[in-house]
Symmetry: C2
Subunit: 352 residues, 2 copies
């Protein structure tokens, strides 16, 4: 980062997540949005403020030509929010890295790619190091609730035997895209078909599981994954859907890691219309044991947009390479003031 | 740290906390206890295993002469657990730093000394930098539950208006020293006298409050502290005390930070015999809001011993100077594998 006062950001992907991220970034004093990329015909070429429905112009036209824009505009970070799968997003990440810009991506598989996408991860890591930039995948899940937060909670433990995380989300209060992704309104048969082609369900449970397992140093003998439909027990009308009783209201997914006969990690995710008692819980069977509940759960859309913007200072200042959240400091958004190098004496104190 | 396989530790203070820390350290494969210091006549000169009541010898005699031991024995970290106040512990810390050893201390005021003990903090920071070592104050409270954990939870927030942390501890299940420190068994009059001379009550609320306020960048207009006795509503018999109804069963303390008319931070701590519904809670009034509860609370004695030992790798590898927990990575105990510098490719992956 140069001595400029603000972090300059280019936003790659102005879909559901990307738009929320932009709205947060535009409110920040320390961030200047300098570019936007989207290839969707309804967005490319239009004014960014108009695309976001802000009712004002931002002086930024959405570009369809990522390569040209990345080459021409200088920026500290490319904030990337397009798809969930690394193989799809890889060429976009390489473009951004080639232009010598740091990257924060919401791509779920990037939250911990070192197991599921090891070869691509190594290639991307090498390119990032060569270019001297940092690439980080993050979000609230994966990226926080089901991986970093449980790992943070092990710091006061003498021993940890198992980690169980449960997240129950009521999708009736969430964005349409999430409802679609959870198979809302499908018949159970359609659901199974769409699961088999990978177009529905949450991506990231395995990534969270591997981040926990490999950080804990646990040798796993087996990893089991499951996905089941949750069927509507009554008729639902949402803004976009009418879901008859007996059709799909959402998804229940689990990823379980066995170490011998021990269930070392269980990640359980339920996302459905009207899910009862929405919450996040983290149970550490350890010494001491830790049994934590977040009432209502952390609101995913708001939180993912926030965490992506909050991590900008940390990513700009971190070492080059493909990082994951576990490489970052306790308070990444504070790290702009310097967590890994000398801090001038006068920055320690604030007159109260 | 040299290329040796284990972290070598010297333990300064073998009281309630120090003994627990030693018991945890002695179980770790990656730690070698190489020295112990205590000036108490019942401990100095005796064999460490005997002092700890292990029923076996460790080949280490407890030394009363800190300076000589620190000079003669090479070690990576001095784990220091003597008193709560920085002014008392300062000469001991300077001794350790002068011997070019990193320090982890349970001294509560060291958890965030930059406001309450700014001058001593600057001096210690300068000495640590000159000696090329790191000094860190930590524990479960202060150091985790009421400061770092709430700060970690702000990462997924777009806005934070206030942070409220409540910790309710049932001291009937805790160590005798803690019960004494909470005024257990005193009359209300004795309690007030002992509060005024600073010999009872929890130390660290202000430190937690200032760590939060200064990290959030909040300009405070007023900081209020209070301490009140909690009186026994029935007769209590513990292992050490008989507490008649109407006498002191524990303490309720609060530290509140005002920013204008806004209560920006409230830290509320209740520690008493038979406290109902022991728990830790963190409420962030923000976007999104976060409302977290740890059922039963995090067991303090076990957790403080664990966190002090778990932080050894991070403190050995961190930059020189007087650090606080907010300078450390999300998963400090993992940091031995390298969070701030290049990690060899082959360390990313673990064959499962």
């Amino acid at each position: 980062m140069t001595m400029q006062e603000k972090f300059r950001t280019i936003h790659y992907g102005i879909g559901a997540v990307g738009s929320e991220v932009l709205k947060v970034a535009l409110q920040r004093q320390d961030i200047q949005v300098v570019g936007a990329i989207d290839t969707h015909p309804a967005k490319a070429g239009r004014e960014l403020g108009e695309v976001l429905g802000l009712g004002r112009n931002l002086g930024i036209n959405v570009s369809y030509d990522a390569e040209a824009l990345l080459r021409e505009i200088s920026a500290d970070v490319v904030v990337q929010a397009t798809t969930s799968h690394m193989i799809t997003v890889y060429p976009q990440l390489v473009q951004a890295v080639a232009s010598e810009k740091n990257v924060i991506t919401s791509c779920e598989e990037l939250s911990y790619p070192w197991t599921g996408q090891a070869e691509l991860a190594r290639k991307l890591d090498r390119r990032a190091r060569e270019a001297g930039v940092t690439v980080l995948g993050t979000g609230v899940n994966p990226g926080f609730v089901m991986d970093i937060l449980p790992l943070v909670l092990t710091s006061p433990c003498q021993e940890v035997r198992s980690i169980t995380v449960t997240r129950v989300v009521d999708t009736s209060t969430r964005r349409l895209q999430l409802q679609i992704k959870m198979g809302t309104g499908l018949s159970p048969t359609e659901f199974r078909f769409r699961v088999s082609d990978g177009s529905i369900g949450h991506v990231g449970l395995k990534e969270s599981l591997f981040m926990i397992a490999e950080t804990m140093g646990w040798q796993l003998d087996e990893v089991k994954e499951s996905i089941e439909p949750i069927l509507a027990t009554r008729r639902w009308e949402t803004g976009a859907f009418v879901v008859e009783k007996g059709r799909v209201a959402g998804v229940r997914q689990a990823a379980v890691a066995m170490a011998g006969n021990r269930e070392a990690i269980r990640l359980d995710l339920q996302m459905s219309l009207g899910a009862e008692n929405p919450h996040d819980s983290i149970v550490i069977d350890g010494k001491p044991p830790i049994n934590l509940t977040i009432a209502g759960g952390i609101q995913g859309d708001q939180a993912t947009a926030a965490i992506m913007v909050n991590l900008i200072p940390a990513v700009v200042k971190a070492r080059p390479g493909l990082l994951t959240m576990r490489d970052l400091p306790f308070i990444p958004w504070w790290s702009a003031r310097g967590w890994w190098k000398e801090v001038p004496d006068d920055q320690h104190l604030r007159v109260l």
